[in-house]
Symmetry: C2
Subunit: 350 residues, 2 copies
DNA sequence: TTGAAAGCGCTAACAA
DNA sequence: TTGTTAGCGCTTTCAA
């Protein structure tokens, strides 16, 4: 039935400015003008176009538009796939903020430990206005490629060796120092650390600060297990630590998500009550940290501020290609909850 | 400095197939052919193109390609903004599955209770291959518009009045019946319900089944409070219910996220131990339901299966416009954990 | 204020 | 196997 086919095909064609022009009896450029704010067009023509457009259900193809204006409204966002609630908040806030600025999110995900080079290759096939990398490792070679392609990039909650790529991170150094100060004031004896991914800058910063700042206070014997930022690994890491003959009474985890896992294992598998028998501390202040069931002591990375900063930097770079890369450290604070023993004496833990 | 400006501008231009052709000394179509699998091209030409492309850092513009092929690789996804962990899992799985099928996600979010018509208007400006609506209300008028625009649509975890729009949902009817059977076997006396958004089909199905199936068993006195699927409202709803003189000993919540909130409030604000003093049951089996801290009894909506089904239906519709709308009900199961009292007698709760 | 015409980066039909 | 040409849906000159 060739006839049927033809009908289908002609239906399938979406409505174009040309179609509207034909129906309205004006030129195609007139139609374009109507959808261009500030273009000079008479009320009469405008009316005809509005009617025809309404009748046909016409909407300008934003992608075709961007091809000629050379301005994209697409922002690429790369997220890790690890069910971390903190990133869900970040993504939701990014979406709201970006859409109110007229941008849309093209979403990419990368599996933990996956080579981000292949993903970047994929990303560079799209005409993006900018790119936001959340907790993703970016080799400096890729960083160069972004520069070369004039693609504005901001990293969130992680940074790269190359100073060329803007970043927005929490205050890892100060945060961990506050945490250590707090643990020391609480007279803890046996310190441990649950690490995130080895090659993440955030983990490096937190780990290095934790160990060096403890050493600075004369504590060298600190245990470590690797949680890789994932649920299963974090639980296993907790078991390893709690099975040590010298069981730790203070565990600092590289992020909240792992700290929550640690609380679960400590409480359920080792009958340890966090805040009494053991102190467990995280980093992020994610959506769940304040829940009654966890009451996690943590150092905050305020997601709203992180998102605002990241977007501001990105928009700046989009507007002015020569704007210099920025490295924003968003200040957080120690949030003391029940998962950690309190110092006996009055202690200004801020 | 007009010279500087010109340089900047020429740098800004991204590398096109034309540029590659010039450097390689071949036609622009030859370049296109090299990036078209199966196109006939000699090894010699290919080599020249590869070299030039490498040198210039060329990548085909996928958006420009889709303009002419009339095939989009963009799938729109609409998510609610309510930090529900279940949707995070769904999104992560969708992203993985879709990208392995060569599609990319264009992300849209809609605020709880927001009019989805405006959002749909926005969405229709993009040339999408398909659209996946997660827990979004779609007025049937919009449904028609999608049909008219030949935009394949699948709703997940919600459906619409119009039978024209495909949907993938959990088994709300059976699930709630199993839950009621289980609660009845556990000899509960005072039943309550925490409702989701009023205008969501999922809430309607679960609510109606809960009340009618209880009535069918002679129980008419059932309390209700509205949690709106959000953290704050769900907590407030729990307080309302637990403050009743006739305090419920069984609360069924329209989803897990609210059930987790209910557990929190019951335990922390009312010193009630879920599973002993009160039974709290949810629906979804989300990422947190199985955590030791909650041990939530629930009826599952297997996210992997939901995602697979949704994608399969969508791809079918993309390939064949005339494929009929499908309404898939993914089977789940009652997952009995500690948040609910167990029946005294042996009871086949499956 | 208007329409004709060129062109964004690409694919595809055609002829050579 | 190759290059020429037309055109996807749109914006933006340019002349009228």
């Amino acid at each position: 039935m060739p006839n049927d086919n033809e009908i289908t095909r002609s239906l399938k064609r979406s409505v174009t400015a040309h179609d509207v022009a034909k129906v309205a009896g004006v030129s195609q450029s007139a139609v374009s003008r109507h959808f261009t704010p500030g273009a000079s067009i008479s009320e009469k023509t405008r009316k005809k176009i509005i009617e025809a457009a309404e009748q046909l259900g016409y909407r300008p193809n934003l992608i075709a538009r961007s091809l000629i204006t050379k301005k994209s409204t697409l922002i690429g966002i790369v997220l890790p796939l690890n069910t971390n609630p903190y990133y869900q908040s970040i993504l939701e806030e990014l979406s709201q903020e970006l859409s109110s600025n007229g941008y849309r999110i093209l979403l990419f995900t990368n599996e933990t430990g996956q080579n981000s080079d292949l993903l970047m290759e994929e990303i560079l096939h799209y005409p993006l206005a900018g790119l936001i990398l959340i907790a993703v490792n970016l080799s400096s070679h890729i960083a160069d490629e972004c520069k070369q392609n004039h693609l504005p990039v901001v990293m969130m909650t992680r940074k790269t060796e190359s100073k060329e790529i803007s970043s927005v991170t929490g205050n890892n150094i100060l945060g961990v120092q506050k945490i250590v100060d707090f643990l020391l004031a609480g007279k803890h004896q046996n310190f441990a650390y649950i690490a995130g991914e080895n090659n993440s800058s955030t983990n490096r910063d937190r780990e290095n600060t934790y160990f060096s700042y403890l050493a600075h206070h004369g504590i060298y014997d600190v245990q470590k297990a690797i949680g890789n930022y994932t649920y299963e690994n974090a639980r296993q890491a907790t078991r390893e630590l709690l099975n040590l003959t010298k069981q730790p009474d203070a565990i600092f985890c590289a992020n909240d998500h792992m700290a929550l896992c640690a609380i679960e294992v400590a409480r359920n598998e080792f009958s340890l009550q966090p805040g009494k028998d053991i102190s467990i501390i995280g980093f992020d202040d994610n959506y769940l940290a304040g829940w009654d069931s966890f009451q996690l002591t943590t150092f905050s990375q305020p997601s709203k501020q992180m998102v605002d900063q990241a977007i501001q930097i990105l928009l700046e770079q989009i507007e002015n290609e020569n704007s210099l890369p920025k490295h924003i450290v968003v200040e957080g604070e120690l949030i003391v909850r029940q998962s950690s023993k309190l110092p006996k004496v009055v202690f200004d833990y801020k």
